[in-house]
Amino acid sequence: MISLTCMDVATFSDTTEAAREACARIAPAWPLDRSIAVNPYWKLRTRSFAQVAQEMHRFAGSRMAMPLSFYKTLWASGAIARADLQSAMRESGNVFSMPDLLASLNAAETGCSPLPLLSDALDLGRDPEHQVLWREHITTQISQCCASFFDEVQADWRPDGEASLYRYWRATVSEDRGASLLMGDERWRRRAALLPENPDALLEEAVKQFALSPDQVLPWFVTALYRVSGWAAWCAYLEWQARLAAEEKPCFQRDLLAIRVAWEVLLVDGDTSLRSSLSTWQLQWHSAMNTPRSPEVRMAEVWQRAQELAYARQLFEALSGPPLPKGTTPRLQAVFCIDVRSEVLRRHLERRSPECQTLGFAGFFGVPMAYRAAGAETAVPHLPGLFASAYTAKESTGSELGDAQHHASARQQAQQTAWRSWHMRQPASSFNLVETEGPLKLATLLKCSLSGKWMANDGARPDASATLTLHAPLAERIGIAGRFLRATGLSSGMAPTVLVVGHGSETTNNPMAAALDCGACGGQTGLPNARVLCALLNDGEVREGLRKDGINVPEATVFVPALHNTTVDRVTVHPGKGVAWNEQDAAYCVSLLEEACAGAREERAARFPGAVDRASALHKARRRSSDWAEVRPEWGLADNASLIVGRRDHTRGLHLQGRSFLHEYDAALDSDGSMLAQILGGPMIVTNWINMQYFASCVDPHRFGSGNKTLHNVVGGHIGVFEGNGGDLRIGLARQSVHDGTAWRHTPLRLIVVIYAEKQRIESALQTQPMAMDLVNGRWLHVYAASNTGFEHVYPGTKLMAVTRKSPSA
């Protein structure tokens, strides 16, 4: 039996160091307008999954597996086979026997609770029916304070530039008469004025006051910080961005920790007797520290692993099926984002025409850019959150005067709408404006209620008269183009038309819209990246440069950017002006896309309730994308489960159910393993972030999911949402994004990564990518090397999952 009480927690004598360590656990959360999927356990990746499960349980009261009833259904339906459960049992060290595990399915659910704080001990003495609880009040107070500190757009009247979150909070709390009125306690407000001005000093003092032994400091800090983990994630985001911009790192997280700890300090009433709240808390703390996790929680983790093994088994079976043979000389090559939604469309494309080849590549297509739309004030990053943008891409009409006019008219239009909403917001104006303009809303309400349509998602349609130019030196432009062609294997055998397909969603009245867009493009649509790349590849200068590098782009080959609208499943091509695209090729391409999209749409429509045929699928998808009341416009990346790295030849035509990310990789073209290393360090991490975001939103919806969409209340214009009136900032996916009201639509699984390369090569590539190595070592994902004989687990202590291949065709 493993001892569950011993925590691998280093002992800190230095409080500041402990605070730093506590803050270093929180992964960032991007704002809603740039929302990308983030692995909420990212900062814990150097520990193992199992260990983090223990820690999350202890410090945050969170689980990292579903409730047992979830697995009960899977077991009953046969989705988890006995063999899967046995393997999972063995992996976990045979702590539980088969009968134990089966019996656990019928056991009552046990609640999880984090380590208690003093505020919890005081709440024990409060009557929840007659009084507001401390933990509710503290969360509300901190959350409102943070919101007003970080807000830049929602409130018109904002506090004057105080740079330190902690000092701002301290000034607020010591004058907050309301809280004393509400809680019926005056004493702590007087103490608030005596708090140290320096957050580090406060932490030091708090540790002294609570008489914590050195090994207790870190658990205490971590527990405190997890009570406001939403705002901690926002602070972590600001620090992350500062790091990318190489600016001086602000200490918002440390301040936030100090604030939460300061609340504990404020609640100490100075009573030192045995029955004082402080001694009560000390008893509770030590007792909770020594309470092991319940066996049910640990058994749920075994079941979770069994479920993952069951999926791996099915995936390997599917991958062992005979792929479609490669067609003759291709007429069309289409490069898609690795996104799981592309898998469906790619399959339909290839099934319909043997002259069409599809490839998968990270959706920013290797262009590290920020995009500045016409008339926009700022450039928006269009690349994975791990990196900083190197170049800016701007819309250009070709002439300077034209650009200036274009910009000015777009800006004027934006100013007019912005002015109107500003005017409406003004307190003295709003009284009469409501009378004057309000009745006009009758028409909008009528229209929306009859047709469900609200305003269209902007930014999806580029201006056909403008081209998008990347402001980068020629050598770098050639470099970007060359890297793209080599990595996709397109450096030879190019078809007359190469489509570069970015993707974006089309939803309305949806604060979480960006989460459905391209994660590799920073939560934006991938079209600008596709346009930039195509403009590069169609450029004579760049082609000349590529020729010198040994890549010959045929004269006749045209690169055409396209946008895959994932909500409606429709692909629009945007060749741009001055591109000599053969009419026949264009017609072939458009009609093929139309057919394939219809097929993909029909397949994906089956995930929504109600029977569909081809015609109604389009109608229903259109309605979902434009209905102002729709909370489930599309399923996004729900049910993502695997990443397959290899040539399309291995997977062409195989039905992977829209659950797989597909990345192009040809070991034969990668002599030194550097391309594989790049894939492991880039796309694999991005897919891990997506996978873990969905995972955490299911297993830990209170902390890493944003709750019920019908209650969402946008904070600070774009910072995040509250669920309801207030409470902590909510991050992650809404319940509606993973659950349809009766069943889960995402199966929480750790990513299965299948790489078509030798095991040794994968291992040596991992050596060069420390972050990827952490993920593999910590079992945050499972990597398998695929070969003719089967799929081999890449992990210290490897074993072979032998699946015999069914007659692979030529």
Binding site: A121, A155, P159, P427, S429, S430, E435, P439, L445, G724
Partner: protein
């Protein structure tokens, strides 16, 4: 009873939507479409009734009925999609239908006691809707506060009814209004009765300091907030307009309404500028608007009050239902407006714009309307102040005059358009003293000054303190919350999933 009188009775709109209660089981979709058709049918019935009575009959009542039914219809259509997959959809539909029915009854009730009864039903149905997610503690607290305040208001209203019944010998609204018009209300009892009614209305219209629940109802799905803010909370305004002859005869009630309304307008207006989340900001604006509505009624500006009722209902329903677009709006508008930062010049420009705008509105009023009441000064001031930002020009930017006019003139034209339409519907009261108008101008002018200071980023020493007070809602709600909990405990269902387990083991250790 002849068929025609049954068909024409106000019972039709008051009962028809509630027929949705009959669909209790089965596919929620059936329940939704039933409610949808019932609400549409009721609207048709209201139109037919109006036609049968003759178009010359005062159109206020059918207008208000159609407004409430339209909102109910929008809410039902929205919720049907929005709540897909949620549990207890049947219950939700039933409650929305009940609310619509009862709200129609409030508008159409011929007698004060029926009106009160219907209003109680609205309030109770709303209370259940607010607890659509019964496991949410804040939802229960808000509903609980609303429950207490509403019952208090109803008690006051009921007492008022009793007193008026004694004085007038009837509870028929038409009869009481007729008596008030004929004889005025000389006796103290009359005055007391009206005052009690008005207090009841004020309590149910979320005036400070009993406004807290209105801000805290975001714990229910968005369409519930929309229904409450657009269709329910302003029923008080409709009731006051229905009782306008009584108000005209009661100076005390007028003063009370204007005083309460002005305080709410000012405080809630200031607080709304400090809110950090979209829905809560909308809620504080509703609160301010309700203050404005009460003040308008107190001043006898019934036309404006009705216009405000309609405009606010539609505007707020729209604002809540599209609150999810906040991020889209942010993407579109962020950083677009950069205002000059030369405080003195900018403040002078704001002052000049205010004076110019009020003068323009005054001139238009004089040119278009004959006859003159003191209270119309209040209307002119409201419009002038509201449109002033459109005329804000620095001497250096005179070339932007056309732009300023394109912002100013259409709004002014629109306002007078509505005004002329409503002139045919009902008449304003008269006989308000000038000082009441002066009182009304205080919050308006203060808010204008404040918004000018804020938008020009002027930092005066006192402003930070006021901002802090405003951020905490002037500490008005906390005592009320505490009192509400202490006096009468809220019933809590379920428990918070994230609650640290303070289990029996710990408790034992303590003992």
């Amino acid at each position: 009873m002849p068929l025609s009188s049954i068909l024409l009775s106000p019972l039709v709109p008051a009962c028809l939507p509630a027929a949705a209660l009959l669909v209790r089981r089965g596919d929620p979709a059936r329940c939704w479409s039933t409610a949808d058709w019932l609400v549409r049918g009721t609207a048709l019935a209201v139109l037919l009734q109006w036609l049968c009575r003759g178009v010359s009959a005062p159109p206020l009542q059918p207008l208000m009925l159609l407004l409430v039914l339209f909102l109910a219809w929008v809410i039902v259509r929205f919720s049907q999609v929005y709540l897909q997959g949620e549990t207890s959809q049947h219950g939700y539909v039933h409650l929305v239908a009940t609310t619509a029915s009862a709200a129609c009854a409030v508008i159409a009730a011929p007698r004060l006691d029926i009106l009160l009864g219907a209003w109680v039903v609205v309030s109770l149905a709303m209370n259940s809707l607010l607890q659509h997610y019964p496991e949410r503690r804040p939802a229960q607290l808000a509903a609980h506060k609303k429950f207490l305040v509403s019952r208090l208001g109803e008690l006051s209203f009921a007492l008022g009814c009793l007193v008026l019944d004694r004085c007038a010998g009837t509870l028929s609204i038409a009869e009481i209004n007729r008596l008030a018009l004929l004889h005025g209300m000389q006796s103290r009892a009359w005055q007391a009765g009206v005052l009690l009614l008005v207090i009841g209305v004020l309590l149910k219209t979320a005036q400070v300091p009993l406004h807290g629940w209105l801000m805290q109802v975001m714990e229910a799905p968005t369409p519930v907030s929309a229904l409450l803010h657009a269709g329910v909370v302003n029923l008080g305004g409709i009731v006051l307009v229905r009782l306008s002859p009584l108000l005209d005869a009661s100076p005390a009630a007028q003063v009370l309404l204007v005083a309460c309304g002005c305080t709410t307008m000012l405080l809630a207006g200031v607080v709304s500028t400090t809110r950090v989340s979209i829905k809560v900001r909308l809620a504080w604006l509703t609160c301010a608007q309700m203050g404005f509505l009460m003040a308008e009624c107190g001043l006898g500006l019934y036309q404006l009050a009705v216009l405000h009722l309609i405009g606010h209902s539609l505007y707020k329903a729209h604002a809540f239902l599209t609150s999810g677009s906040a991020v889209q709006v942010f993407r579109r508008e962020h950083g677009v407006l950069q205002r000059p930062l030369r405080p003195v010049k900018a403040l002078a420009a704001d002052a000049a714009a205010g004076i110019l705008s009020v003068a323009c509105v005054y001139a238009t009023y004089r040119a278009l309307l004959h006859g003159w009441h003191t209270v119309e000064t209040a209307a002119i001031l409201t419009v002038g102040i509201a449109l002033a930002p459109a005329l804000r020009l620095l001497p250096s930017s005179a070339r932007r005059l056309p732009l300023a006019l394109t912002r100013f003139v259409p709004l002014l034209a629109l306002y007078f358009g509505w005004h002329f339409l409503l002139n045919r519907v009902l008449h304003d009261g008269s006989g308000r003293p000038a000082w009441l108008v002066a009182l009304f101008s205080v919050p308006l002018l203060s808010l204008y000054v404040l918004q000018s200071l804020i938008s020009n980023r002027v930092a005066l020493p006192w402003m930070n303190t006021v901002r802090r007070w405003a951020f905490h809602g002037f500490y008005l709600d906390e005592s009320v919350s505490r009192l509400a909990l202490a006096v009468w405990p809220a019933r809590y269902h379920g428990h918070d999933a994230q609650q640290p387990a303070l289990t029996a083991a710990y408790v034992k250790e303590l003992a």
